[in-house]
């Protein structure tokens, strides 16, 4: 595939690795905050090939991982209603709530359907006017424009049987929260390429300046990741800390202003709980008042559903890089990809699942 395969060239990957090996003189710790990047790093084994001492800490870049327990329980409460057709991206189906998950609910007869795009949910709502169609709007800023357009379209069409359950999270506040943590080990960041394609990278400039950490906007293919890591390491070796762009073919500094406008129209910034981490102020999106009618939480009266995250679960420390899965008492025994307890084991790019599949033991 054009613009994909070229960035997987093994020969060029080896050159980048060689350059990295001669450039890095210290055991730098970098973090990527994007599930897609984690996926490539783990699947290609790139994190195994880094110069001795260097490591990639997998950040909370997977919206599946960070959707709070409470929101999962709301989703489950809504999905079990007989009049509801609950639509969702595939990733979310096996994420455990307090008692069950969407896939198990489907086995019990709930109308839960996987969709590729929120547009598909709109189409279902148009085709099946007797069903209450709910879309689970999970994601970072990358997915917000799609969900915004969907709400605008639903409003235009006057769809009374469509609503969304919003679980959007924003990356820059998460990075700040990680950097503020007392046990933070991260010295540089790879910023998520597609998040930045939408939002640009201006929000990261004050972070790089204030905390003195290099931030490199990076793509998703093996060459992108290796080049992004190299750029970050070069900055660290020379004591610089700025925002650079590796993913030049897709990202501009100001981002996609049409997409940003749609987000600003349909959503407003809210505080948001991140599973295992806790509430991070102004780190999420909720529906703006003008579109409150499309809020599934309101429509189905689940605003008061509360769930307490278990205090002993260390998913939060995994997600900030402070701990590794093998530090967890339940890892590999009570908690496995077949019987996941927390989100980093559910998602195939979650750190715990990656460790488990690689055969790492306590």
């Amino acid at each position: 595939m054009k613009y994909l395969d070229e960035y997987r060239d093994p020969g060029l990957a080896r050159r980048l690795l060689a350059e990295l090996h001669t450039t890095a003189t210290k055991p730098w710790a970098l973090m990527e905050v994007c599930g897609g990047q984690t996926h490539t790093l783990v699947r290609q084994g790139i994190d195994e090939l880094l110069p001795a001492g260097m490591r990639m800490i997998h950040g909370p870049g997977c919206p599946v991982c960070v959707t709070p327990l409470e929101l999962l329980d709301k989703a489950l409460r809504i999905a079990e209603r007989p009049e509801v057709t609950f639509t969702s991206f595939g990733d979310m189906l096996r994420v455990p709530g307090s008692n069950t998950d969407l896939l198990a609910l489907k086995a019990r007869g709930a109308d839960v359907r996987v969709v590729y795009s929120p547009i598909d949910a709109i189409r279902i709502a148009q085709r099946e006017p007797d069903r209450q169609v709910v879309f689970f709007a999970v994601g970072f800023e990358t997915t917000a424009p799609a969900n915004a357009m969907t709400v605008l379209r639903a409003a235009e069409l006057g769809l009374a049987n469509f609503s969304i359950l919003v679980s959007h999270v924003l990356v820059p506040p998460a990075i700040t929260a990680i950097l503020d943590a007392p046990d933070c080990e991260v010295q540089g960041f790879l910023a998520a390429g597609h998040v930045c394609a939408v939002m640009g990278w201006t929000q990261y400039e004050p972070i790089a300046a204030r905390y003195g950490v290099p931030i490199v906007v990076t793509g998703f293919e093996p060459l992108d990741l290796l080049e992004g890591i190299l750029m970050a390491v070069r900055q660290l070796e020379s004591g610089r800390a700025t925002v650079e762009n590796q993913y030049v073919r897709a990202v501009r500094r100001s981002g996609n202003t049409a997409a940003q406008d749609a987000i600003a129209r349909v959503f407003r910034v809210t505080d948001r709980a991140w599973r295992g981490i806790g509430t991070i102020p102004t780190s999420g999106l909720g529906l703006a008042d003008e579109y409150a009618d499309f809020d599934a939480e309101r429509r189905f009266g689940v605003l008061d559903v509360h769930a307490d995250e278990h205090p002993d679960c260390i998913a939060g420390r995994i997600l900030t890089g402070a701990a590794v899965p093998t530090d967890c008492a339940a890892y590999g025994s009570a908690c496995t990809p077949r019987t996941p307890l927390g989100a980093p084991m559910v998602s195939t790019e979650g750190t715990c699942a990656a460790y488990y599949i690689a055969g790492r033991t306590r």
């Binding site: 595939m1 994909l4 997987r8 093994p10 990957a13 080896r14 690795l17 599930g35 897609g36 996926h39 783990v42 699947r43 290609q44 084994g45 790139i46 195994e48 090939l49 599946v64 327990l69 639509t87 991206f89 595939g90 990733d91 189906l93 096996r94 455990p96 709530g97 307090s98 008692n99 069950t100 998950d101 896939l103 198990a104 489907k106 086995a107 019990r108 996987v114 969709v115 590729y116 598909d120 093996p222 278990h310 002993d312 679960c313 260390i314 998913a315 339940a330 009570a334 908690c335 990809p337 077949r338 019987t339 307890l341 927390g342 998602s347 195939t348 790019e349 599949i357 690689a358 055969g359």
Partner: protein, 352 residues
């Protein structure tokens, strides 16, 4: 697997032990668990011990027969490259073939949902007839039942195949040893991606068609060339080649290393997998097979495969090794090793 609530240090959702999930049918870890932990123990002494294979081999008065059964529940029923009828014939023929059987006869059972269009039933039956005729196999007996609306997804088809064991074929998942060469008969991923392409919600148009085809002639060519040097053969249906290789690695107690860049994936299949976030190694196939061959016979068997139409794309993809017995690893594009795991449950398209 039971979990003691008092010992858990993470939130413990109720593990789904009471009901069957869709994932139990997907050919991966859950499917294997369903058979191993629920069905086989319940059968008790009626089920002979031994590794779980694609077909059974048994002796009737000195004649070795191979028998296999399979149910076909594919949705949608009609897709580019085939339909449930074709699938039902090829699937069972292939299960008999990969256990070293020359397929002779099939039984055919329909479970039909009330309201199912007669024209569609005719189409499927015609397809069955054509596929069986082309494969040189007879449909000798059958059954049909009708169930109430909603109780079946239109049509379910079950075929059982009987064959005669090829004298020189001694395949078993337990036979491969370290040093064996792993061969793949052709490109992967076409069937699974095709079926997904016509499914609601994930639809796309593409130059993809199911690869469903009978493989018994291919297997016969392999046996003629390699005889008992052909240790194991599998047709990787649900769960893809990842699951098939893992099953053999576990049964034989060998490690398997494959070179990811040598596994042929057609461009549109690759593109569809990118779009949906699927791993081609986990995608279902209906027209290819993997085989473990003793190294000295590998070249001859490969040449024999390439000499028949069903195996023109045959290629080496890896080896069985002493390291990491029971596990499959792949050499990635950038030269690292990664674990290739079995599919867990239903393959869900991801967006992350």
């Amino acid at each position: 697997m039971t979990a003691n609530p008092a010992e858990l240090s993470c939130p413990a959702p109720r593990v789904e032990t009471e009901r069957v999930l869709l994932g139990h049918g997907s050919g991966g870890q859950l499917s294997a668990a369903l058979v191993r932990e629920v069905i086989v123990p319940a059968l008790g002494a009626a089920a002979p011990a031994g590794p779980l294979e694609d077909a059974a081999v048994f002796d009737v008065d000195g004649v070795e027969l191979v028998m296999s059964t399979d149910s076909f529940v594919v949705s949608p029923l009609f897709f580019p490259g085939g339909d449930i009828g074709r699938l039902a014939v090829h699937g069972t023929i292939n299960d008999v073939a990969v256990m070293g059987g020359e397929p002779i006869a099939l039984s055919l059972a329909f479970v039909i949902e009330e309201g199912f269009p007669l024209d569609d039933l005719r189409r499927v039956a015609t397809s069955v007839g054509e596929a069986a005729r082309a494969a040189g196999v007879s449909v000798v007996t059958g059954d049909s039942k009708v169930v109430g609306r909603g109780a079946a997804d239109g049509l379910f088809v079950t075929t059982t195949g009987i064959g005669r064991r090829l004298p020189r074929a001694r395949f078993s998942a337990a036979r491969p040893v370290a040093g064996d060469v792993v061969l793949l008969s052709g490109p992967i991923g076409a069937h699974g991606v095709t079926v997904l392409s016509v499914r609601e919600g994930l639809g796309f148009d593409g130059d993809v068609a199911s690869d469903t085809q009978p493989l018994h002639r291919l297997v016969q060519a392999m046996v003629e060339a390699g005889g008992s040097a052909v240790h194991a053969v599998r047709d990787p249906t649900r769960g893809g080649i990842a699951s098939a290789l893992n099953e053999i690695a576990a049964a034989a107690g060998v490690g398997v290393v494959i070179d990811e860049s040598s596994v042929p994936v057609p461009a549109p299949v690759s593109a569809a997998c990118e779009l949906l976030g699927l791993d081609p190694l986990h995608v279902a196939n209906e027209g290819c097979l993997v085989a473990f061959i003793a190294p000295q016979a590998a070249d001859a068997v490969l040449a024999a495969m390439r000499s028949v139409p069903e195996g023109f794309g045959a290629t080496r993809i890896g080896r069985a090794v002493l390291d990491h017995p029971g596990r499959v690893t792949a050499r990635t594009l950038v030269g690292a090793q990664r674990i290739v795991d079995m599919l867990i449950g239903e393959q869900l398209p991801r967006i992350c």
